[in-house]
Each structure stands twice: as C-alpha cells, then as structure tokens.
Amino acid sequence: MGRSVTEQAPAAGAISIGSGARRRNPIVRFLVADRTARWSSRILLVVVWQLAGALSPRFPTPVETFSFIVDEFNRPFGDGAWSVWNNELVRNLFISIQRAVSAFCIVVMIGVPIGYAMGRWWRIQAYFTDIVMVGIALPAYIWALLGVMWFGFGFRAPVFCAVVSATPGLIVQVLQGSLAIPRELRDMSGAYGVPFRWQVRHLILPSMAGALIAGFRLAINAAWGCVVLVEWFGNNEGAGFRARYWYDVNNYNGLMGWGVIVLCVVITVDRGVVERIDHAVHRWRGRITSFGGTRTSVG
C-alpha cells in the first residue's frame, strides 16, 4: 500500500523522535537505537532485582536464584540416580507440563465447539451466556482448593481445575472470532451448498484465526498457571509442589527459583511457539507490530 514511503520520510512533525535522530552523530544514534532501548530495560530489570535482593531480608538476588536452579538440576529425583532426565528440575517440570498439555487439549476440545456454536446460533449463545460469565468470574484458585479437597494428590486435580478455569476464557475468544465471520459469505456458501470442510478452510478459519490464537494463548497461560497452583496447594510432585516444598523449609531462594522457572516456561511457549504460529498465520498482513496496529501511521 506504499506505506513504506512514509516510514522513510519522518518529516511529518508528529512522527517519533527515534527516526529523526537517524541523521545525527553515531553516539546519539546508538543511544536511541531500538536494540539499546530493549537492552537497557532488561539490564534495568536485573539491577532493580539485585537492589530488591540486597535491601530485603527475604528476597533473593539474581545470582542466588540462578545458583539455586543449578543446584536443583544437580539433585537426583527421588531415590534414583542422577541423569540429565532424572533430576528434580527436569522431572518436576516435565510432570507439570504433561498435566498442562493434557488440560489444554481438553479445553480446546470443549471450548472451540461451544464458542463457535454460540456465534452461529443465537439460542445457544443465550443459553451459555450466563454460564460462561459465571465461569469467567470464578477464580482459578478456589477451583484449585476444591480440586485438592475432591481429588487429592495425583493427576486428576490439576487437570480438572485447569479445564474448568481455562475453558470460559477460550469460549469468549472463539465466540468473538465466530461473530467476525462475514454473515453474507456464510449464508451464500450455505445457499450454494459449499461443503462444510471448504467453508472451514476458506471462510471460518481465516476469519477466526486471530481470535483463535488469542484464545489459545489465554488458555495455555491459564492452564499452566492453574496446574502450578493446584500443585502448590496439594500435590506430591510437579513445579508447584517443589516451590511449596522450599517455601515450607523457609528457603526463599528455592521459592524464587521455581517462580522464575514457571515464568520461563510461559515465556518460552509464548515466544517460541504461539508467536511463531501467529506470524505464520498472519504473514499476508505484512508489517504488523505486536500491538496489533500497523507500524506506520497514516501521515
């Protein structure tokens, strides 16, 4: 659409200072470069963390946290011998991820059909409106506590809680995507007898893709958080259990370490998997920033 022209010509007054500085001397150019901005914020974060660790009696510093994670990796799991797979870090993480993945599969199998049907037929939408609204309002951690009381240790409590707390959010996203399907095209493809498989391929998936991915992202985060939460409140293995274990013996490095590990999993999945899928799906849109708007403004 010829927008790249506007990006190279920052004369229009209201454009950012970053582009205006490109003509200045190399030091200024370095200071306002995108990469400098990103790295300065990252370094600032570590510095603040270090300061918080130095000032607070409980809060661990980055070095302590990292060395704890290394220690955890060097501890054999249970009574077995140490190996790359059989240590406290990898095994507990693997158990939690396994639970979260199974929960996520169930969430998708329930959430996507209901969300689509709600957008398609108004009766179904009216039927589920209140149920979904209540489901969204329910906090995951009450489900977690109830799940622990009902199912006890093991596999069922985390999966159950993750399913009940992640599904409503996915349903709402899918519903919004489903409402975005152009009615005229859908009616027309119905009138001309287009097979449902083709409709899915050429009409439904393209118009729902954005909402679906947003919903999956929400569901993954919710399922993972919920699994860890349940493990914290009552389980005998998994990432949440491990964090609780260290908390109970007053080892705050361990608590922070597992917090960081849990966070790393979320970010790795989000950046490494979901975002890649998102980019692949939306290739055709061209230059789009992470904010969901085109980078260049209409100048």
Binding site: V32, A126, I131, A137, L146, L263, V266
Partner: protein
C-alpha cells in the same frame, strides 16, 4: 444501521446478543433470550444437585446448592451456632476491594503515562515493551509468591501485585489508543499554536479513553482474583483469608459459599458499576448510535 432500531427482529436476534446494545433488540427477542439464559442457569443447578448426590466418587464431598445457599445466608446475617458474625461478607469484601482499588489506582497513575509514551515514542515503546510483556505473562501464583516474598504478611503485598498485574494491560491498551490518534489533528493543532497540554486533553485522551475502559473492564476480574489469592498466601484480612480458613477447616460448603459471593460480586461490579460508568463517560458516542460496550 442504528436507525433501524427495533424493526428487524431477525437481524437483531442474529447479531451478537452479548456483543450488545440491548436497546437495538426487540422486546420479544430479548425475552426469548432471557428464557434460554435462565434455562442454562437451571441446567447448571440441576447438574450440580445431581452430582452432589453421587456417593463414593470424588464428588462425595460436594454439597448441594441448598446447603451452600444456607451457608451464604449465614455469612450475611450471621450464624451464631458456627461463630460467624453478621455482615462477615461485607467486611471481608470491603477489605479485599480496598486493596484492589489501591492497586488499580497505582496502575492507572503509572500505566497511563507509560502507555502514552509507548504510543508516541519509538524509544519508549522498545524500552517498556519487554517489561510490559513480562508483567503481562507472569502467572498469578508467581505474583502471589512475589508479594509474599517482598512484603511478607500484610496489606501491601496484595495491593502491590494487583498494580503489577493491571499496569501492563492499561499501558498496552493506552498505547494502542494513542497509536490510533489522528495525526492530522495533532499536526493541525500544532500549526495553530495550541499548547501540547490542550492537544493531550482534547485529542489524545478521547482516543485512548475507550481503550482505558476496555483495559479496566478486562483486568478487573483478574485483579480481584489476584488480590484474593495474595491474601490467601500472605494476607491478614479479606476474603482470601476466609477462603484459607475454609480450606484449612476442610469445609467445602463454606468455600463454595465464598465462591458464589465472588461471582455475585464480580458480576455486580462489572455489569452494573463499570458498565454504568462507561455508558456515562461515552454518552456522546451512544447518542451517535455506536457500540461502546464489549463483552
């Protein structure tokens, strides 16, 4: 589109019932939708009643709706036999709400300027992007742990983590709003020598305030949940503490009573208070027949 109000029933019914503008829907369709909605609620209650009757399964410990309603009533008017003072609900909800609101206010105070900067300057966008991204993806339990570690027991932890949770949502939404500002208007206001404060108030603020409301509505439920969770971990007052007590006493009925209160409260605040406020702030847009409210 808006001028056809109430004439085309089919159109009204097929457009999203919750994507809203209720006025557009005819009364009969609204009534029909309400019937279906009621049917859904009744189904849930019936299933609940049935499941709570199952013996020797995991749901042996599931109390029926009647018992939970009884406990809820006890928390409202007091239940001397179990040592519950009257008005327990209101006291505890107010405690939690207070912390949530403090956190929310802090998030708005810091989040709006950050959002404006992010929408306006490329440097700020790059600088804050990772921080905001990180804060937006932290699981609630990690926040709760963080609050516990930094502040120990007390009120400060929940309020602080609520602020951390809400801030990225607000900044990202405000940034999106600012990016959508009509640049021509800004250029014009500069050309006519208007001070930049006026431009901020009259051009930038109206374009991001709908986004701000969307952010507030989207994050209210989550922030409320986080406040309660943080209280469960390290609080001294509030519903989180009540829920912890119920868990430690292994009282499923009490916990489900609190759970129901939770829902009622969130729905009340979201549907009644925030929606009213939003309609009031955007009344000029409602007059033009635009949809303001989202699900």
């Amino acid at each position: 589109m808006a001028s056809e109000t109430g004439t085309q029933e089919r159109d009204a019914s097929s457009r999203g019932t919750m994507a809203v503008d209720v006025a557009r829907r005819t009364t009969s369709t609204r009534r029909k939708a309400a019937v279906y909605s009621l049917l859904g609620a009744v189904t849930v209650l019936v299933v609940w009643q049935l499941v709570s009757g199952f013996q020797r399964t995991a749901f042996d410990l599931l109390p029926g709706p009647a018992q939970v309603a009884d406990r809820m009533w006890g928390f409202i008017v007091g239940d001397p036999s179990r040592g519950v003072a009257s008005g327990t609900v209101f006291i505890n909800f107010w405690e939690t709400l207070r912390k949530t609101l403090i956190g929310f206010a802090a998030a708005v105070v810091f989040g709006v300027p950050i959002g404006i900067l992010m929408g306006r300057y490329r440097y700020a966008k790059n600088f804050f992007f990772d921080l905001v991204y990180l804060a937006a993806n932290v699981p609630l339990i990690v926040y709760a742990i963080l609050g516990l570690l930094l502040f120990g027991l007390g009120d400060a932890g929940p309020a602080f983590v609520v602020a951390l949770l809400v801030l990225p949502v607000i900044s990202l939404n405000v940034a999106a709003g600012v990016e959508g500002v009509d640049r021509n208007l800004l250029t014009m206001s500069r050309a006519y020598g208007r001070p930049s404060r006026a431009a901020l108030r009259d051009i930038v603020a109206p374009s991001f305030s709908p986004f701000l409301f969307a952010a507030a509505r989207a994050s209210f439920a989550a922030s409320w949940k986080l406040a309660a969770l943080a209280e469960t971990f390290g609080g001294t007052t509030g519903i989180g503490v009540q829920i912890r007590k119920a868990f430690q006493g292994f009282s499923v009925a009490d916990m489900m009573a609190w759970m129901m209160f939770f829902v009622i409260f969130v729905v009340l605040i979201e549907r009644v208070a925030l929606m009213r406020l939003e309609r009031w702030v955007f009344r000029y847009r409602l007059k033009r027949g635009e949809d303001v409210l989202r699900y």
